[in-house]
């Protein structure tokens, strides 16, 4: 398990992930400070940003002291110089998930955050262009949420009967 970077904010809870990743659990307030600490510590690349909707899984396995919320934003950082990965799981909120954008630190997070916004409805503060990226502009709802059932909107086959 890798250590937290020296400038990490206090109160970050870490755990061993499956397959020897370090996983950090943070609140939206600690999030940006921890990402900055990782960036200063040599994590050059943000390889992935995605969001998970734990609609009814408030009992999911989490380390002691982490207050679970419905939405989690999961960020995978990569250090090329140290050949390490770090994963940050942000407890992003229950109803209107909102976290800071990583755009200031990792320009490449832009499209991935747009995707998380589009499909999961997570808002990213400070994102330059938080618009839908995969779904059509006038689409209602965020399809990857667990309370959004697949197939409820008839698409393309306009003559077929309505949603199942």
């Amino acid at each position: 398990m890798i250590a937290l970077p020296p400038s990490a904010p206090p109160g970050v809870i870490t755990a061993d992930g499956v397959a020897a990743d370090v996983v950090c659990f943070v609140t939206p307030e600690q999030y940006l400070a921890l990402v900055e600490a990782f960036k200063l510590d040599g994590f050059e690349m943000c390889s992935d940003v995605c969001a998970v909707d734990y609609l009814e899984h408030f009992d999911r396995p989490l380390p002691e002291g982490v207050a679970p919320t419905r939405f989690e934003v999961v960020v995978n950082l990569l250090s090329l110089s140290k050949r390490q990965r770090a994963r940050i799981r942000v407890q992003a909120g229950n109803d209107e998930p909102e976290v800071d954008s990583l755009f200031e630190f990792y320009r490449g997070a832009e499209a991935m955050e747009r995707e998380a916004f589009d499909l999961m409805g997570v808002l990213f503060r400070g994102h330059p262009d938080l618009t839908r990226i995969l779904m059509p502009e006038e689409w209602e709802g965020h399809p990857l949420r667990k309370d959004y059932s697949a197939g409820r909107v008839p698409v393309q086959f306009k003559e077929t009967p309505g949603p199942r």
Partner: protein, 450 residues
């Protein structure tokens, strides 16, 4: 009620309203915030290497001096349904915005409805040029959560097949890139050579494209009898032909004029934009997950990581051509070192009983039936597994809640992320360079839109 087409054609603003994607599109400059404008002109870094100050971007230009045009979504050289909106000053590109989503079919949502066994048939359709590597990334994630070991032979079969896949994917790239630059011979050659590999896939797995061959627990079938000869012939043929491509393209003046020095990329920019694969390596960063974070048995084979210097189109071309040769080296070593043994895990939890047992044992029948209807359950947890696809880091973030279906499957498609480099590479170039830029970034739209 009138015909919708007539209605739209009569009123041009209706046509715009019915086809517009709104804020997703490239807006007029006066309607664009500075930070977004910075993105669209491809501003990534300041000179001191820090994040760019949006105020340093030239956005004084007036909207009536420039023109915004659409390229795609069904342009022959956008390789699918990529749509680029370009702001042009004469023949020069000022701003670019890729608009995607035309192939979005909700595969991540679909994955939540499929059991872990069925999941491989879903992910294989994402990056349709490297289906096996998608399956590999997914299977590795499932196996990490399950905590099962797969037999050594399965590992080596996976490695050999995914290297063959890398060759076929790069061959398609060579072919389409040749096509984009006007060399239709290269188009034919690339697909001709790829056919050898697809035929071998068909012989092994029964299918040519979306194979569902690499599955959680191992692979679907053992290699066919005489596979060593088949693979050796493939290697010999393609290795020889790469030198023909060299003759056809590498030194050819027209080809070089369109590739050398066009659309250069710096290492810092590539890292900031999270670019991986040949795009990152073309800038001189020797980052290849097969070498730097080995999975399967890549630490036991001998190969070189190809890097470029200038990060221009030509470097990206040269990297892909030479990666075909390196992959052939790996495949040859796989042929020589292929261990004996099982081709799939014998853990009854993930592996169905042998076909022959089903006829004679009721338990085996129940087991088989249970496995293919309900599937197996995976312990609760989350895992990120990344492999090197022909386009870069293909990550698979898998969350299980202990059930027989993934709770959440997120695929980090390298094409999706690499597409962010397009505004940067396009800036200041000509419209004709846009074709080569799209081509050398090599997005596969199935993976971009998922």
């Amino acid at each position: 009620m009138s015909e919708p087409t007539v209605r739209a054609a009569e009123r041009i603003e209706l046509l715009a309203a019915e086809t517009s994607e709104g804020a997703q599109e490239l807006q007029r400059r006066e309607a664009t915030a500075p930070s977004e404008l910075g993105r669209e002109v491809g501003a990534v870094l300041r000179v001191d290497g820090r994040v760019l100050d949006p105020n340093a971007v030239d956005f004084e230009r007036r909207d009536d001096e420039t023109m915004i045009i659409n390229m795609g979504p069904s342009h022959p050289s956008t390789h699918g349904v990529l749509r680029l909106m370009l702001e042009l000053d004469g023949e020069f590109v000022l701003r670019t915005k890729p608009i995607i989503g035309y192939l979005h079919t909700g595969m991540e949502k679909t994955a939540e409805e499929l059991s872990y066994i069925q999941g491989a048939t879903n992910v294989t359709r994402m990056d349709y040029l490297s289906p096996l590597i998608n399956e590999l990334s997914y299977s590795l994630a499932v196996e990490k959560l399950l905590g099962i070991e797969i037999p050594e032979r399965a590992t080596w079969i996976r490695m050999m097949m995914s290297e063959l896949n890398r060759i076929s994917s790069h061959l398609v790239w060579m072919a389409t890139n040749g096509m984009d630059l006007g060399s239709s011979s290269m188009m034919i050659y690339g697909f001709r050579e790829r056919e050898l590999i697809l035929a071998f896939y068909e012989k092994t797995a029964g299918l040519r494209l979306n194979l569902n061959y690499i599955r959680p627990g191992g692979v679907a079938a053992d290699l066919p009898d005489g596979w060593q000869d088949d693979v050796t012939v493939i290697c010999d043929t393609i290795d020889e032909r790469t030198y023909e491509y060299d003759e056809l393209l590498t030194g050819q003046p027209i080809f070089r004029q369109r590739m050398v020095g066009v659309a250069p990329l710096m290492a810092e920019e590539a890292l900031a934009l999270s670019l991986t694969g040949p795009l990152l390596r073309s800038t001189g960063v020797p980052w290849d997950l097969r070498r730097t974070m080995p999975y399967l048995a890549y630490d036991q084979v001998d190969f070189d990581v190809i890097v470029g210097t200038f990060g221009d189109n030509f470097d990206r071309y040269a990297i892909r051509l030479n990666e075909i040769r390196e992959s052939i080296r790996i495949v040859r070593q796989c042929v020589a070192m292929m261990p004996r043994g099982d081709y799939r895990s014998q853990d009854p939890k993930v592996t169905p009983p042998p076909r022959a047992r089903i006829g004679e044992s009721m338990e085996a029948l129940i087991h088989h039936f249970k496995l293919f209807t309900h599937g197996f359950e995976v312990p609760a947890g989350e895992v990120y597994s990344a492999v090197e696809s022909p386009r870069g880091e293909l990550g698979c973030y898998l969350v299980s809640d202990g059930g027989a279906k993934p709770y959440r499957l997120h695929v980090r498609g390298p094409s999706f992320v690499n597409l962010q480099a397009v505004p940067l590479l396009m800036r200041g170039g000509m419209v004709s360079d846009a074709i080569t830029v799209i081509s050398t970034v090599d997005p596969v739209m199935g993976e971009v839109d998922r």
